[in-house]
Symmetry: C2
Subunit: 411 residues, 2 copies
């Protein structure tokens, strides 16, 4: 009988976010009249920039006409989009890249998950705690996690603790690790690293011949000076880092699916017998074997985000969500909550009042206010005692949620 990949069976049968939806649905059944406000939402709420919608409508029409129809595109993305990525996302920050160092794909979730396939199973993986759950789940499903201990941690994963004490900026690993997943500006904590802080990680990686998988999905939200937009702003990073970017939160492309991954030629991995191998070649091989390119229409949409109007519209979009964050920060702080993030990121990380567990507080806020947060426990052990709000809802909904919290006597 065909054997299944046993690593899949190590995953808890239902994940955290299914539980969350289950609890919300139970509440809705009991309170069909309630107007729920989802303050933990990970999805955007505003329309995509007009320029992108127009470009995609035009591209759709092109496909229906013989003279302008296009079949298979290049598996790693069209030159017209790669040119814009290199110019606006890298050259603008003093970084040079080749066309074949850029891999356009259908989403950073896919890339974050699939990138593990090009690496050996025996590498030691480090992730932050709290963390975006896909890094950990992909490590489990890929057979790299070891076993789940009683403390809720996987034996072969090194956890980099992020706490209020270290400003949610983890210390370097004490022991050797091979692959480090970093996401800055961070989901869920909303914290960004300065150049000096990120440099410590690049230096660690260079010293230890480790590879950093740098998830830069939220870089369009950076507003403060001295926060690097790309890890390649740090000297030497091309020798030790892969960077993954997304248009989901930059241009509201969550339903359209476009992202890209940078794998510099300078980045080397090792064979078991100690020879150097260009990681770029492996990722290229995966892309060309397991993928047939991102939809032409969507690539035209992404390209349009880089036009003058497109960039203005993206800026207006991220400004809107950041203004939402500011409202939440100010209101929640005024209500006495301890609030982190939301300045260079669309996420806010907030301490539950009175030491309550994050699930208990979630439940109270849901049942007493009809306001939904994401319990911090869903992001790892050290997420306990916190909850996540984001700035992604509509302004009116956020203002109403803030009013409900302001008038709340319960907490």
């Amino acid at each position: 009988m065909a054997l299944v990949n046993g690593n899949y069976l190590k995953l808890p049968e239902y994940f955290f976010f299914n539980d969350l939806e289950g609890k919300i649905n139970a509440y809705k059944l009991l309170h069909p009249e309630a107007k729920l406000i989802r303050m933990g939402r990970g999805d955007v709420s505003q329309a995509i920039p007009e320029e992108a919608a127009k470009a995609m409508a035009d591209a759709a029409k092109e496909m229906g006409v013989l003279e302008t129809f296009r079949g298979y595109g290049p598996e790693t993305g069209y030159k017209f989009l790669k040119d814009k990525i290199i110019k606006f996302d890298y050259n603008a920050y003093g970084i040079q890249l080749e066309q074949d160092e850029v891999f356009v794909s259908d989403g950073s979730k896919s890339d974050v998950g699939n990138i593990g396939h090009i690496f050996g199973r025996d590498n030691i993986i480090a992730i932050t705690d709290p963390v975006y759950p896909v890094y950990e789940n992909a490590a489990i499903m890929g057979g790299r996690s070891g076993h789940l201990a009683d403390d809720g941690l996987w034996s072969n994963i090194v956890y980099l603790g992020c706490t209020a004490e270290n400003g949610f900026k983890p210390a370097l690993p004490q022991d050797h690790v091979d692959i480090i997943y970093l996401c800055y500006p961070n989901n869920p904590t909303g914290i960004a690293l300065t150049k000096a802080e990120l440099k410590k990680w690049v230096d660690y990686a260079l010293d230890n011949q480790a590879i950093i998988i740098f998830d830069g999905a939220y870089c369009a939200y950076i507003r403060e000076k001295d926060i690097p937009h790309s890890i390649y702003e740090i000297k030497g990073a091309k020798k030790c880092a892969i960077e993954i970017r997304s248009y989901s939160k930059t241009g509201g492309f969550t339903g359209l699916r476009c992202s890209y991954t940078i794998v510099p030629h300078e980045l080397m991995g090792s064979t078991e017998t100690g020879e150097d191998v260009e990681v770029n070649k492996l990722w290229n091989r995966r892309a060309t074997t397991y993928y047939n390119g991102t939809s032409y229409i969507v690539q035209r949409g992404a390209e349009a985000l880089y036009s003058k109007k497109g960039r203005e519209q993206c800026r207006a979009l991220t400004d809107y969500y950041l203004e939402n964050c500011k409202i939440i920060r100010d209101e929640m702080t005024a209500c006495g909550f301890e609030v982190y993030g939301g300045v260079n990121a669309p996420h806010l990380w907030i301490k539950t009042p009175g030491g309550r567990s994050s699930w208990r507080f979630f439940q109270e806020m849901l049942y007493e206010l009809g306001v939904v947060c994401t319990p911090g426990a869903g992001f790892g052990n050290l997420g306990e005692g916190y909850f996540r709000f984001t700035g992604f809802n509509q302004r009116e909904a956020i203002l109403e949620a803030m009013e409900r919290i302001r008038n709340w006597k319960g907490y």
Copy 2:
């Protein structure tokens, strides 16, 4: 230092299709004036159905308006598309499916490659020879192939030979295998299996508790009676088969990226300790962890292919390519070639004249006629001595290629 996945290094550095492009480019440099005709092309040449182009232009506009904007869709596809798939592609053939047995994705190449991830590494894989190379490459990269022997075959892969003697319909495996990749109508041979012939495979799989990965990418080209459109037309197939379908050749979606995979609830795999596991749950887990859904715009395009006009336009498209195939069959046969396929599939499998090797014949046809075929050797050992033509080029180009071959004294 981070270790790479050593299985990637087992792949030949350049693959066959890179070699092919290299040789074509060399010819172009030497003969800049030549008008090349690509008769081996795997990509379609005609515009997509008007209905789909219209639906996608509308969907693009929707995304630019707050009231109709959509963010993340369901990872496994929208209900509006799954409803159509179930009704037109399955109910119409007497097959019942649940919504959660249908997984919409961005391409059958992705699914064919990624499906291996949910299975254990120790399964014995069987593929046909000749074969679509992705099945073999994914097995190699996934660590299931063993080593490459001097005969060009991988030690842990069972090859099912397809020759003129067996009508390119392979015999059942002599030894036990766990996972069998079948593609019918077949690429590259253009051969289809009748119900009775496919039933033998389903019965084998049921008897041996094997799983069939059934690639049905070309089912829209079936014209003869008694050829099953879906493997689930065979009794018991839901207990032993996964079916992968694509809109690439059905609706000209090669540049748009949409396909789907069916994993019936009845299909079971086994843990190492012998317990049954629903394969559907594993594939669902992969889809929800490694994927964020297919572009909304493209799903609307695929949906439009099922409207009354859309179905007529798809039929006109596949009829056009099949008429091309008929022209090729008739002409090549009249020229004395031994021709297979092209009746229920857009591919034709043709014997090289005079026992020449497929590369030699490719080279001769390229340099003497400016006509490009795909050498059979690129599809496996038993592809040697054959070449592939397809019906995917424009009618005028195909007529011209046929004229060049008719007047060719060389072969």
